[in-house]
Symmetry: C2
Subunit: 94 residues, 2 copies
């Protein structure tokens, strides 16, 4: 688990090149590089911009570490829901 | 990154034995097993109970997945701060 949490942090730091925030370009690169297997439409920069706007709680046009953690939480919920649904389907089928 | 997010989810699911929430005993086991290298006082059940109370937003005596994600965010912030401070110290020293 420690490794997983450190991965979340180091990925943000390397994507933001050590700055406090991700600008649009680095946010798009991060999403396309890291989440193309978990999210749809990562090849659409329009969709990524919409996602960024949805995360941008303080409307500064950037993604802070807190806003990034909100995205991680959202993705974790999606994974959790899919695991819960698949185990539900398995028990229905048995 | 996908692996890191899946680790966060599967650790919760295995610790809660597939239930929606962690009870006190399973929360304590999770903290002691997963975070002893990142947190102090994980050998103190009193401290873990205090942490659980701090996370328990709906006061139901359990830790939901959302409340668990809050803990993950807190730990990620601690790791991020320690990395930022250490790189700051390195640049001060040079």
């Amino acid at each position: 688990m420690e490794g997983a949490i450190k991965t979340l942090v180091t990925t943000f730091i390397s994507s933001s090149r050590g700055k406090d925030n991700l600008d649009s370009k680095s946010f798009q690169k991060l999403v396309q590089k890291q989440f193309s297997g978990m999210m749809e439409d990562t090849n659409s920069s329009k969709k990524i911009k919409e996602m960024q706007a949805g995360l941008d709680a303080n409307n500064d046009g950037k993604v802070s570490f807190q806003e990034y953690l909100t995205l991680i939480g959202y993705l974790a919920n999606c994974v959790s829901d899919s695991k819960t649904n698949s185990s539900q389907a398995a028990s229905d089928a048995s």
